[in-house]
Amino acid sequence: MAAKTIKVEIKRQSGPDGAATVEKFEIPYRPNMNITSLLGEIACDPVTVEGKATTPITYDSNCLEEICGSCAMLINGKAKMACSALVDKLNGDGSGTITLAPLSKFPVVRDLSVDRSVLFQNLKAVKAWVPIDGTYDLGSGPRQFPQLQEELYPLSNCISCTICMEVCPQFNDSTNFVGAATIAQVKLFNNNPTGAVLKAERLRALAGDGGVQECGFAQNCVEACPKQLPLTEAISDVSRDVMFQQVKDFFVR
């Protein structure tokens, strides 16, 4: 009887402008593997199922415990974190093939590694930070009620994996929608007692083209988010705040 194996099909691309190809691998089964350990296994002996020697798969990963947000990819066609996607759960009885592909809405750097810098540009555009840099010690910040902390903590769990953007039908090169992650961070920092100083600026930024108005409320973001952020609630709240800011600016600015 042949030893149990795991069949993997990986969409590969040598560089940003290279042509995409698919390579098949078959590696010995071990229990409790995740996709990153599967890719590590291929890197140990990068030979395709046809016996052709190839290069190890390029992919982003760092923490291996769903905290750094770097290993998002399409696993069996769906956007998931490679570290928390377990082979035993994906494979079922072991007869199927696991397919891996880079996220489809971000430019490919190589193989499964994509350039997600648009999220960081967006976070910069809405000033998603608490402004405390200065030339002298500002002392301790204002106190937060625990109720507020509890509301904001889930939003601080965002790992910038961009899965919410990948699964969003409105996030594409036609709308250039900002995506749920950035909107959720606007809610987080607007509600921070110190971060609130930039509230109006963030809300004005989000009313620009590609802003919060492009959301079509398909709610894929909240379904797919690996960290279960209350993304649709954040979009709804921020959307109202953006609206009030626009009306206020119209009458008093």
Partner: protein, 268 residues
């Protein structure tokens, strides 16, 4: 220590793929919000009025004619019609098609309820768009003019629905339009921050479903009056022609006799 030049970071201006937020630039926020609002008022409000008015058909051709006459006797009715129906509807439809074709539905990959509703809102919108063009042309502008002949309304609709293909189109369009409106209310509440919480959205979803089903049933029931057995072969016109100009009533025999007796009385 090996010195490796850091890779040149992809500069912000030449980013490939989806572009970053154009912070504070453009007018799409205004247009998108107007699109959203116009779907509730005036278009949604008109849809409710339209279905309620057509529901009068269940009381027969005369009741229907009087309803049409009442609507056409509203002050500045032609201004109302253009300002609160045609122009907002044309904008909502045009911008809606623009929105629909900029989305990239992925319900084949992520078959979740919200994602189905996302595509359904676009499909029902497009159905309503195509239907309303022919409906407005054939029932408002072509054929007998109902503002002048409100009494002909029942027969006009009855003749239209006598074609089974047209009847099927009307049934499909009724379901699509009320679906689009009901989910549109839900979307409005969600996207304007009226129902941010998950529980609030769920509860309001039941409310919107009830509104949608009620409107759809009333609409189909109203249609039944035209095709059902009760009012078959309705008369072509059940009311005298209406004129927008002020016309003195034609003198009747009774009035003529009264005037004549008055004259003879004065002569005495």
């Amino acid at each position: 220590m090996a010195t490796v030049a850091p890779p040149v970071p992809s500069s912000s201006s030449t980013i490939r793929g989806v572009q970053p937020l154009r912070a504070g630039q453009g007018n799409s926020f205004l247009w998108r919000k107007l699109h959203s609002l116009s779907g509730i008022v005036p278009i949604g409000a008109f849809l409710v009025e339209h279905i309620l008015s057509n529901f009068e058909a269940i009381h027969g051709p005369l009741a229907y004619a009087q309803q049409v006459k009442f609507l056409n006797s509203l002050p500045l009715v032609r201004v109302l019609e253009w300002a609160f129906i045609f122009i907002p509807l044309a904008f909502h439809a045009g911008y809606g098609v623009f929105i629909a074709f900029r989305g990239r539905s992925n319900v084949n990959v992520y078959p979740w309820a919200g994602n189905w509703m996302y595509i359904s809102q676009r499909v029902t919108g497009l159905i309503a768009f195509v239907y309303i063009i022919q409906h407005v042309w054939r029932q408002r502008f072509a054929g007998v003019s109902l503002p002048d002949h409100p009494g002909a309304a029942f027969a006009k609709v009855q003749h239209e629905l006598a074609n089974p293909w047209m009847l099927a189109i009307y049934v499909i369009a009724m379901v699509a339009t009320t679906w689009h409106f009901a989910y549109g209310i839900w979307l409005f509440a969600a996207k304007w921050g009226i129902t941010p919480g998950e529980q609030a959205r769920k509860k309001f979803g039941y409310v919107c479903a009830a509104i949608g089903i009620a409107l759809c049933v009333m609409g189909l029931w109203g249609m039944w009056a035209f095709v059902g057995p009760q009012y078959q072969n309705a008369p072509a016109d059940v009311l005298p022609a209406q004129s927008s100009r002020l016309v003195l009533p034609a003198p009747t025999d009774l009035m003529q006799r009264a005037m004549a007796s008055e004259r003879t009385g004065n002569a005495k």
